[in-house]
Amino acid sequence: MPAALRCESLEKRYGATVALGGVDLEVAPGELLGLLGPNGAGKSTLTKIACGLVRASGGQAQVEGAPTGSAEARSAIGYLAELFRLPDWLTADELLALHQELAGSEGGAAERGELLELVGLAEATNTKVAAMSKGMQQRLGIAQALVGSPRLLMLDEPTSALDPVGRRVVRDLLRDLRGRGIAVVLSSHLLSEVELVCDRVAILVSGRIVARGTPLELARPRGVEIETAGGVRTFPEAAREEVPRIVADLVAAGERVYSVRLLASTLEDAYLEAVGAA
């Protein structure tokens, strides 16, 4: 089975500016990849090349084995842009019906109803986009991207306008999509969101991937924290294997030990480290 998305030495230059400087990336079917990076790192460019909206200057990118931009590749993709706008003269149902026609979906009213239910907009079927809040529009945008059952979903900052409840809905939705075998590339600045849902993370800085791996792999041990009668004591250099010895030493020294906690860096720490080092 071909990769949902494969990029090899992918480059994009705008005149003298290098937006992507040779990106190698592979997203497996059903995988949820978080694409992180500061503003201008190339996340949106990478997403747009995958969607066939921007032409690469070098290298190649394929969606399910088909070159990006081809009709085959586009028929496998669902996309929500970072700066999106929906036609405000349409209702939610009309918008989804339009995309059904464009995607050649035969799901009809049942698919539209299911998608609106999925993003928590079941009550807004006949509401015009103009009357929707930004958060509702963002959820409708996700529903629009899911029309026609895409096998690869490219989401560029899909939760930026959502409140905590809305983010929860999208998080649950992403987990549900992974369960259905749909690959998702989630570009986001919300590291906690990415850490919660993504299988793998790639950190992009100045058009290059500077770190990649599972959130757990990217997180690094940061020592041991032990709560004793004398207060909390931190051993920043200690590894997990050293915990029994440290505890034994403390007890032998007459300390009363109440709890032990292994410290690890968060994805945010890993991100800041990668961005700072690049």
């Binding site: 747009k48 921007v54 009709a71 996309y79 929500l80 842009a81 036609p87 003269w89």
Partner: protein, 283 residues
């Protein structure tokens, strides 16, 4: 092709639901009301004047009034055509409206074709209806009917369709505001060139005639408009015929069959240029 039809339907729905159509309709109703009043008053005045045996006042008044209305219809049609297409590509892309559509398998060519078909259909229908209303008002008020009314209407419709195509092509390169300004400047330039051509004909100034000739090939909407005007009194002869050929506004010019062929070729060239440019454009 079916994808283009879907986009055309979408463009039609957009046109109907957007406020610009209400503004144009309001202006049109105002125009037709004033035009009706103007016709009634003018034909009453003409009847009360002592008639010159050699000039048919009714033909002169009717063709002048309808010619003036054709200029207004051309202008309103151009406004509609430009507002429906000025932001179709770059403008919509900058607002984030275009990308979700382009990502779908329909393809960029179908998208362009659909946008053009939708805008052209709305503009053509608008021009036909308003022109027909103006003809009817003139006929009822003064019992004068154009010699080749259908031909005149066709010239007007094609002129507006050409403007819509130009604006759609411009929308690939320019932002909405810049494109609107550019198309209206071209519109004005085309009309001015036509007027210069009339002056050149009257005074036999070759340079002005050449300017008008070149501009009518580069911007054929002016030649189509003039061909439409000519259709109003194409079969009128005698002194009346000579006088109305000089007017009524900007001058009427009989078009050869080549103009209609060139218009089709011109639209095809614009389509090819737009297709090429849009295919290469990053969104």
């Amino acid at each position: 092709m079916s994808s283009a039809l879907i986009v055309a339907r979408y463009a039609l729905r957009e046109a109907v639901r957007r406020r610009v159509i209400l503004v144009v309709l309001f202006l049109t109703v105002c125009f037709l009301a004033l035009y009706g009043l103007g016709c009634v008053v003018t034909f009453n005045e003409v009847e009360s004047l002592a008639a010159d045996d050699q000039i048919d006042d009714r033909v002169l008044a009717g063709s002048t009034l309808l010619g003036l209305s054709m200029f207004t219809i051309l202008f309103l049609g151009a406004v509609l055509a430009v507002f429906l297409t000025l932001g179709a590509v770059r403008g919509d892309a900058e607002r984030g409206l275009l990308q979700p559509l382009v990502v779908r398998p329909l393809g960029r060519t179908s998208l362009l074709l659909g946008r053009f078909a939708g805008a052209a259909a709305v503009c053509a229908l608008y021009v036909v209806l308003v022109y027909a209303a103006a003809v009817l008002i003139t006929g009822l008020a003064g019992e004068w009917w154009p010699d080749q009314g259908a031909r005149a209407g066709l010239g007007l419709v094609l002129a507006v369709v050409v403007i819509a195509a130009m604006s759609l092509l411009g929308s690939i390169f320019l932002s909405s505001t810049a494109n609107g300004i550019a198309v209206f400047m071209l519109f004005g330039a085309g009309l001015a060139a036509g007027l210069l051509g009339q002056i050149g004909d009257a005074l036999a100034v070759e340079t002005l005639q050449d300017v008008a000739k070149v501009s009518s090939w580069v911007l054929p909407f002016e030649a189509l408009y003039q061909a439409g005007l000519h259709g109003l009194t194409a079969d009128t002869s005698g002194i009346t015929g000579v006088i109305v050929q000089l007017g009524p506004f900007g001058g009427a010019q009989k078009a050869s069959g080549l103009l209609w062929v060139w218009t089709v070729a011109y639209l095809a060239l614009i389509a090819a240029a737009a297709r090429l440019a849009f295919a290469r454009r990053d969104l």
